[in-house]
């Protein structure tokens, strides 16, 4: 019984990591236009696409992880979440590093 509760707590914490990444992305999406406005520039369509993608990605991955783990044991669900968070981190790194921020503006 205690083990199950503990497992669910860990699950909630891991899901919280997904939420944290999403919140960061939302903050980014709010701050970047402000910074751009202070430079006198706007965010172009490509920029909005990447900002939206950064918000949507953790949520989509979390959804997929929950769906895939729906009728499985707790260990499988936790493994899915950990794999999901590492995937989100990896893709986020790629987006932030490979997409030049300049292309967002204008």
């Amino acid at each position: 019984m205690v083990a199950r509760i503990f497992a669910w707590i860990v699950w909630v914490l891991l899901a919280g990591l997904f939420v944290e990444v999403t919140v960061n992305a939302v903050g980014n999406a709010v701050q970047l236009p402000q910074m751009a406005a202070s430079l006198g520039l706007g965010i172009n369509a490509l920029g909005w696409f990447w900002l939206a993608a950064q918000i949507a990605l953790p949520l989509v991955v979390l959804l997929v992880a929950v769906i895939l783990g729906w009728r499985r044991g707790m260990a499988a669900r936790l493994l899915l979440l950990v794999a999901g968070i590492s995937l989100v981190a990896a893709v986020q790194l790629e987006i932030t590093q490979l997409v030049p921020a300049i292309s967002f503006l204008g």
Partner: protein, 201 residues
């Protein structure tokens, strides 16, 4: 998961080398054969790959062997081509245990695992590089959010390996083909693209 067949996987590669460098000998003097015979592996090694595929179709293992051979033929270079003739010959011997992976699939899995390992290694080196960049740019405010961000940041190199392990564990009861599709998707998704782009913006 593949403990009993791991011996078979390495033995297949070893036997193929053995057969290519020596005349086909009797199976008695070697320690390879446990559960499968070298006589059966001698015949496929002598035939071309088309002949080997016809033999696979003719054998009882037909469907799985062809699919696995087709997928692994795409995903794998000529390295495994020499291992395949010997491996497919043994699928006839293992026809009595249809639930286990064919040796071709195992070799392909091993190769895919190796590629995933390379991905993780490349990710690790790039993550260390980015960590150095971040240290210079942001002094590390030390808030909870920044600490969490660092933690998440460092899980990125584990992504390819975790994908591999997750697919193998979760898709255990599904068809071999489904597993390989997921693994190929993972190859594309977890590819460290910065490796090809050089240093980013």
């Amino acid at each position: 998961m593949c403990c009993s067949h791991a011996r078979g996987m390495f033995s297949a590669a070893q036997v193929s080398l053995f057969l290519m460098t020596e005349k086909p000998a009797s199976g008695s003097g070697t320690s390879f054969g446990e559960g499968w015979s070298i006589e059966e592996a001698v015949k496929p090694a002598a035939t071309s790959q088309e002949g080997e595929q016809q033999q696979v179709i003719a054998s009882g293992q037909g469907q799985q062997g062809v699919d696995a051979a087709g997928v692994s033929a795409e995903a794998v270079g000529s390295d495994a081509a020499s291992a395949e003739p010997a491996a497919d010959g043994t699928s006839a011997a293992s026809a009595s245990k249809p639930a286990q992976l064919s040796n071709t699939a195992l070799v392909a899995l091993g190769l895919l695992g190796g590629v995933y390992l390379i991905y993780s290694w490349v990710w690790l080196s790039w993550t260390k590089f980015y960590a150095d960049q971040y240290k210079q740019v942001a002094q590390g405010s030390g808030t909870v959010g920044a600490v969490l961000d660092q933690i998440i940041f460092w899980t990125a190199p584990a992504a390819p390996l975790l994908w591999f392990v997750t697919v193998l564990i979760l898709a255990r009861k599904k068809k071999v083909r489904v597993r390989f599709v997921w693994l190929l998707v993972g190859l594309v998704v977890t590819l460290p693209y910065q490796f090809f782009a050089g240093v980013g913006a």
